[in-house]
């Protein structure tokens, strides 16, 4: 089970309602793109959903949430800290086990940055940092992905490669995207957010970029 059915989602900031109340129901296997102007409430909606379904989802937030002082390896490994006993995690902090090492390295190869595994997150470029956060989400191996602009700092071919990977690895996903073409190509359903409300909700094959433009 990796879908969800949430009602009455709403959030206020400084006394002002920024989103909702709205309902969002996503069936297992659906790839949802959240589109809309910046400030429309996409990030807030992703946060709200994450709070509701926490244990199910892998999250890639917009600010990535990397631990800057730790190398890439540990930032990725953190995606599955719950899978190991404390002593195992402590040892890994000092010296990773070969098995985990291989797994993380393979994952980083798919994201085209295997050579960065021991570099501290602080000294990576914006695009590399974004891929580390994605690697962490992939490493967690949950069925549901919640991502907020996960490829905004990546160049064209790399963005496509990552979106393809995300589509293939996660059964269900909700991804906030400002790039309408990417949304139509890699998602099965488009949800448009405007002024904190759902203004559009259609399968991608029924839509063209022109249908989405009014939201911006």
């Amino acid at each position: 089970m990796s879908g969800f059915d949430l009602t009455g989602l709403s959030a206020s900031f400084g006394g002002e309602r920024v989103i909702g109340p709205l309902s969002l129901s996503v069936k297992a296997g659906e790839k949802v793109a959240l589109v809309g102007r910046s400030g429309a409430g996409k990030s807030t909606l992703i946060r709200l959903v994450y709070q509701e379904v926490e244990s199910l989802a892998s999250l890639v937030p917009q600010d990535l949430g990397l631990v800057n002082a730790l190398p890439v390896f540990h930032n990725v490994y953190m995606g599955r800290l719950d899978a190991h006993p404390t002593w195992y995690n402590v040892l890994t902090l000092m010296r990773p086990f070969a098995k985990d090492n291989r797994e993380v390295k393979d994952l980083l190869s798919e994201l085209a940055m295997p050579e960065k595994v021991w570099i501290p997150a602080a000294s990576l470029s914006g695009g590399q940092r974004q891929r580390v956060a994605i690697a962490r989400a992939l490493y967690r191996k949950s069925g549901l992905l919640l991502a907020d602009e996960p490829v905004s700092a990546l160049d064209g071919p790399m963005a496509h490669q990552i979106m393809r990977l995300l589509k293939e690895r996660f059964q269900t996903s909700v991804i906030a995207l400002h790039d309408v073409e990417l949304a139509l190509e890699y998602c099965t359903r488009i949800v448009g957010i405007q002024d904190g409300q759902v203004a559009l909700d259609e399968p991608s094959e029924k839509l063209t970029p022109a249908d989405i433009m009014p939201l911006y």
Partner: protein, 488 residues
């Protein structure tokens, strides 16, 4: 000008200090102060490194007590920082750090005697309180986002080690290293109450007029502190920490009977011990308050306020010495050396030296506090002023100082000054042990007269006074929207 709250606050504090001067006992009572000062400086420039065999041992003990005390303090402080959110923990930490190292030493001396534990605990206890506060502030400022992203079900320890500690580590390490320098100073002055560190040998060299020996000790102490980054390396740290306990010396064995007696008899207020009931207690309290606490508080507050303003003046005068906006490299280098000497010399040692030379009054204390604290703030402000970029046609000389630099650094200057207010008061109280009539004098006299109940009460009063000034200082900093990093 008067419309600036910072200027108004400065003027109010200056006025208080000027009024305080009317009541303060400021005088040079020594018969021949300048001749003695001359002999002292002659001693410093003709140091004799080989006359006392004790010198090397004293330095070794000073370093050993500093390492063990600071290491223990940082471990306890770290554990306390984890539960610092709890209100009772905050109160407890504020309380233990409000009591000066020397007071802690005086307390432990009464029941542990000259056992190494006395010196170690005297440093470790107040430092735990300070570490707890600063560590918890560092941990709180860390980005909470990585922690929120961890999969639910992650163990508390794993989460802490991965998501919290790594990004704080550098700051924690820097602050702990900085505290080690403070620990060396604390360790040195513990000698003044009889522990086998530098202060002990310094005091005996002075009392015998061996100024060249004293000069050698001071010079070695400066070298020790100035070269700290060279010999304290992360890789060597475990060696130092594990080795240090073996160099504390043997001291005297602990008599456990004394420990029991101290807690069950000595510190019980005498009217309760003599079963005079609450009426007797009232008389006793009244007596302590009128004859010791009130005069002690009065003198402590007056001296603190004068020293605070004098510190500010010294800092404002001293910072151009190291600022890149004035003078050439030679002047700056000598300025750096001068400020390093000022801030490496504990105010207690400065006050002791000046007291020997000028005779007892508040003057040596004010000068010592102002020089040491002014040196610290001057160094920080000077460094900050060097990072200010002036326009190419900026005025030079006094105009540059008054129009370009002072207005820009004044807020952080005040922030540091009010941060150090509580530190200055803590030191003022302790200088009483040297014979100035602040709270420390009455504590020390009570201990001399074997009235530990009275001494404990006076120490508690001193601690409350420090906590009060700390709160007031923080209130003023908040009111003026001043921010600062901790200094010691």
């Amino acid at each position: 000008m008067l419309s600036y709250p910072t200027v108004r606050t400065s003027l109010i504090f200056t006025a208080i200090a000027l009024v305080g001067l009317l009541f303060a006992d400021i005088a040079i009572t020594a018969a021949n102060p300048w001749k003695d000062l001359g002999r002292f400086f002659l001693g410093v420039v003709t140091p004799d490194f080989f006359s006392t065999q004790g010198l090397a041992t004293a330095l070794l003990r000073t370093v050993a007590f500093a390492f063990v005390g600071v290491a223990l303090g940082s471990v306890c402080g770290f554990l306390l920082a984890l539960v610092y959110r709890a209100y009772p923990v905050r109160i407890f930490c504020a309380f233990i750090r409000a009591i000066h190292e020397l007071f802690w030493a005086l307390i432990f001396l009464q029941f542990f005697g000259f056992h190494p534990l006395t010196g170690v605990l005297a440093i470790a206890i107040p430092y735990s309180g300070i570490f707890a506060k600063v560590y918890s502030e560092i941990l709180e400022e860390a980005d909470p986002e990585p922690g929120r992203l961890l999969p639910p079900g992650t163990g508390v320890i794993s989460a802490f080690l991965y998501a919290r500690i790594p990004d704080c580590w550098v700051q924690i390490r820097t602050y702990t290293a900085y505290r080690l320098e403070c620990g060396l100073r604390s360790s040195a002055i513990l000698g003044f109450v009889g522990l086998p560190t530098l202060g002990f040998y310094l005091e005996s060299a002075f009392s015998q007029g061996h100024y060249s020996d004293a000069g050698a000790m001071l010079i070695l102490f400066y070298v020790l502190i100035a070269t700290l980054p060279l010999w304290v390396k992360p890789k060597l740290l475990p060696v130092y920490i594990l080795g240090a306990p073996f160099f504390l010396g043997d001291g005297m064995p602990i008599v456990w009977g004394n420990v029991t007696r101290f807690f069950t008899e000595d510190i019980v207020p005498s009217p309760l011990k003599n079963e005079e009931g609450w009426a007797g207690m009232g008389t006793w309290l009244g007596d302590v308050f009128v004859n010791q606490a009130l005069p002690g508080i009065w003198n402590t507050v007056i001296l603190t306020q004068i020293a605070l303003v004098a510190t500010g003046l010294i800092a404002l005068l001293a910072f151009p010495l190291i600022s890149t906006h004035f003078g050439g490299p030679i002047r700056r280098t000598s300025g750096h050396v001068f400020l390093v000497i000022l801030r490496s010399t504990p105010e207690y040692i400065l006050a002791y030296i000046l007291l020997q030379l000028w005779g007892p009054s508040m003057l040596p204390a004010v000068v010592a506090l102002a020089l040491h604290n002014g040196g610290i703030i001057g160094h920080l402000i000077g460094r900050q002023s060097s990072s200010i970029a002036l326009r190419p046609d900026a005025p030079t000389g006094l105009n540059r100082y008054t129009y370009e630099l002072v207005p820009r650094v004044y807020r952080s200057f005040l922030a540091f000054l009010f941060y150090r207010w509580e530190i200055i008061m803590r030191e003022t109280a302790i200088l009483g042990i040297l014979g100035i009539y602040t709270l420390g004098f009455y504590v020390d006299s009570a201990i001399q007269n074997i009235q530990f109940d009275k001494a404990m009460l006076l120490i508690l009063i001193t601690a409350s006074l420090n906590i009060g000034v700390d709160i007031l200082g923080r209130f003023i900093r908040r009111k003026l929207a001043l921010q600062t990093m901790p200094t010691c």
